[in-house]
């Protein structure tokens, strides 16, 4: 079942691009992470707070960290692409079969 038209989808994707690009172009900022700002807010409320537990493993450099984030996004996107390919492949195969065997068409 179609829930949004092709035109709507294109507009929605353009909307995502606009929402992300407009800040980058027009707003000056550090572009740090809000999660880190949350941590900074804790430190502002409790100066000198020391976390009582530290991560078991920390990516050794920002490069390795971005590698792992890219891997996470890449794996997810790969799975979505695979699923969409399978679903649409199955649909076209079914349609092709219906065409090649006209006897199956309901009268």
């Amino acid at each position: 079942m179609i829930i949004s038209s092709r035109r709507t989808n294109i507009l929605l994707l353009l909307g995502v691009v606009v929402l992300v690009v407009v800040p980058l172009v027009f707003i000056k900022g550090e572009y740090g992470g809000s999660d880190d700002q949350g941590t900074a807010a804790i430190e502002a409320l409790r100066p000198g707070y020391k976390p009582w537990f530290t991560p078991i493993w920390v990516p050794p450099s920002p490069e390795i960290e971005s590698l792992l984030f890219a891997l996470q996004a890449g794996l997810g996107a790969g799975v979505i692409g695979y699923v969409l390919g399978r679903i649409h492949g199955a649909v076209s195969a079914r349609d092709a079969q219906k065409k090649s065997t006209p006897g199956n068409v309901a009268h």
Binding site: S4, L13, Y31, G33, D35, R46, T54
Partner: protein
């Protein structure tokens, strides 16, 4: 929304862990039931999990000059119900805690509660509300996904305020401080998440009977 490792007092970690655990267990059972009774849904289920995996990895720039990430839990919450997302979200958070030092094991319960429980339930509830009001599936998915995203960050602010009340303004003041950090950054990203969720949901359902089979629309199955 990730509360970093060691940044919640141990009692709070146990509290949020104890609250989240039953939801994750219930979700595990629901997941098993779907795999057994509707094996044709496995691919769609995988795509729902993968969507959270992708979106929670994307740190996007926002109007405040900071970056934040969407959660991607609205899609699965609408398609399969919120319990399933408790499990899928927990897997994502565990991955990030172990491999990215993002979030943490001690704060896992609190992070599961905000991203994998409250967010999906808000998405699901608002989607149903929109549908009851006669709005289209697309509008319902957009509203559900966008507000589920915001609800996740709101919950994180509550969790942080409960642990770090402000000396002068108390719990409410601390909540406003924490939510102030997240809110403005998150609004445009929540809208973007709503848009993306509609597009992906349409891609999954446009040529199939996924929505009919999952009972989201009444319709003939062929």
């Amino acid at each position: 929304m990730h509360i970093m490792e060691g940044f919640l007092p141990a009692t709070h970690c146990i509290f949020w862990g104890a609250i989240s655990a039953p939801f994750v267990i219930q979700g595990g059972r629901k997941l098993q039931r779907i795999m057994r009774d509707q094996p044709q849904m496995r691919l769609t289920l995988a795509a729902s999990g993968a969507f959270t995996f992708v979106l929670s990895a994307l740190k996007m720039p926002s109007v405040t000059g900071s970056c934040s990430h969407p959660t991607g839990t609205g899609l699965g919450a609408v398609l399969f119900g919120p319990p399933v997302m408790a499990v899928l979200g927990a897997i994502v958070l565990l991955f990030q805690a172990l491999l990215l030092a993002h979030g943490g094991l001690t704060t896992l319960g609190a992070n599961i509660f905000s991203m994998a429980i409250v967010g999906p339930w808000v998405s699901y509830f608002l989607y149903r509300l929109c549908r009851t009001m006669g709005l289209s599936i697309a509008v319902g998915v957009f509203v559900g996904a966008a507000f589920g995203d915001l609800a996740t960050y709101l919950t994180t602010s509550v969790e942080l305020a409960a642990a770090y009340p402000d000396a002068a303004s108390g719990y409410v003041g601390a909540f406003l401080k924490f939510f102030g950090v997240f809110a403005m950054t998150q609004v445009p990203l929540a809208i973007a998440e709503g848009f993306l969720t509609v597009v992906v949901m349409n891609a999954l359902s446009s040529k199939t009977h996924v929505l009919e089979e999952l009972g989201l629309v009444r319709g003939q199955m062929s």
